[in-house]
Subunit: 277 residues, 2 copies
């Protein structure tokens, strides 16, 4: 056994979604689609030091991570770092849960497979109320389409075959929970229409078009994101809202070309991994 | 539409397998496990120039690639390059099929999802008789466990949560087809035992141990690979035979430490991808 192990997990921006709640958290999740990005979360598990989590140097309490450590019955020290904004629609809680599961299993030379670790992290994120589909998307990478909701063995994943440069700009956080529980029927119907549209045109422009229509149909669009999407429209690039955050994401240099101070990233090629020892 | 698009696909070394043939090629495949490696195949599809394939600069005919172009009804010029040895157990035919499917769909702005493109490449490799499980493993990356055989929608994949340095040495090619059709019952039984062992210990050492027992049980081990595995045994690293090639693969610097002239590589983090335009 090594003294520590590190996992890296991409951020995940949801373009549109239809939430599905069931009694079993592993069957709970969301249909939908989105983009994983190379900006993500890096989690190191250390055997010495007792149970605890620091995020960007600050001692933190993240329910999804506590639930992962409970499921693995593990007392490890977790050191997490991210350049992503928190609570802005990048699935940081899911990334922390998945990174903690992978790094903890590795440092303890555990006997879980990848699907089992993804299941544990998905369940933890669902039970904590912090995510419905980020974990399975972050495990996969690329531009994930969640055809059926849930963890491994229940959910069905596909993907848009593409790779692209991206930019994002976050204007702050919004209260995810209150929004999702607001008008679930309208969100579900809009998410299902967006999925139909996307599957007719499973491409980057098709994804952004489906995302913009979903945002308009559900009235989830924030004023600042609406303004940014309009501004990017004149640049020839695509833009859409990150669900659910007060965040806009665009292809290429769409946001900087429209005059925004934006962070450059790109689609993540392959999902969460352990780093080489 | 762009003038060309490029896909990169990892090599795949099978550690053990149980072949499963069914009437439907998409349900045909193999249970088993293995390693994807960063040494792989790069395929560029060009819209101009008419249908044709060059591999490492030589005009070639690869049945699996022809079948992919037929399924996509596409006349593109394919330029493929690989540093991997051909016919040595790295799944180069599967990588060519999958890379051709991804690059061709991209250059023609096609409307296939990733699962559909993987299905087309899997079917092509099976129908050409050149592979049973390489394509789905190469699409996934990492250390794939194929729990159930077949393409997307039929096969079930899991993975060993690990990342490691590797070395390989190929001593030449062997006739895959004659071996697989030799004693299928014995191979299937040995493959199923190896899967049980691996799932008890889904780790890199567990994979290599299962692979060595499978090779011994099936009498597929070649004299030169047997000798190399014995030599690596004294170095503290793991070694096993690539199924099916006269090729040995080892963890870390096992082969060079044992005095072999070997090629260094590592596990591939995330499977086949399109390159950025």
């Amino acid at each position: 056994m090594t003294a520590e192990a590190t996992a890296t997990v991409p951020g995940h921006v949801t373009a549109f979604f239809s939430p599905v709640w069931r009694d079993d958290p592993e069957r709970t999740g969301a249909r939908g689609a989105g983009l994983t990005v190379t900006d993500g979360v890096r989690v190191t598990a250390q055997r010495a030091g007792g149970r605890g989590l620091t995020l960007n140097g600050e001692v933190g309490e993240v329910e999804a991570v506590d639930r992962v450590l409970g499921a693995l019955d593990a007392d490890v020290r977790l050191v997490a770092e991210t350049t992503l904004p928190i609570g802005a629609g990048f699935g940081v809680s899911g990334a922390l849960a998945l990174g903690s599961a992978l790094a903890t299993n590795a440092v303890l030379a555990g006997d879980r497979t990848e699907n089992t670790l993804v299941s544990i992290a998905h369940r933890a994120d669902v039970e904590a109320g912090t995510g419905l589909g980020d974990v399975v998307a972050q495990a996969r990478g690329g531009l994930p389409i969640r055809l059926a909701p849930g963890g491994p063995g229940h959910g069905i994943l596909d993907g848009i075959p593409a790779t692209c440069r991206l930019e994002y700009r976050s204007f702050g956080d919004i209260d995810t929970a209150s929004l999702i529980t607001g008008d679930v029927e309208a969100i579900t119907a809009a998410g299902d229409r967006a999925m139909e549209r996307l599957l007719d045109s499973p491409s980057v422009p098709g994804l952004f078009e489906a995302a913009r229509r979903f945002a308009a149909d559900t009235e989830l669009l924030t004023p600042r994101v609406r303004e940014a999407i309009r501004a990017v429209d004149g640049t020839g690039e695509e833009a859409a809202m990150a669900m659910l955050g007060d965040t806009v994401i665009a292809t290429g240099n769409g946001l900087s070309a429209a005059g925004y101070d934006a962070t450059a990233t790109r689609t993540h090629p392959g999902g969460a991994t352990l780093e080489m020892e």
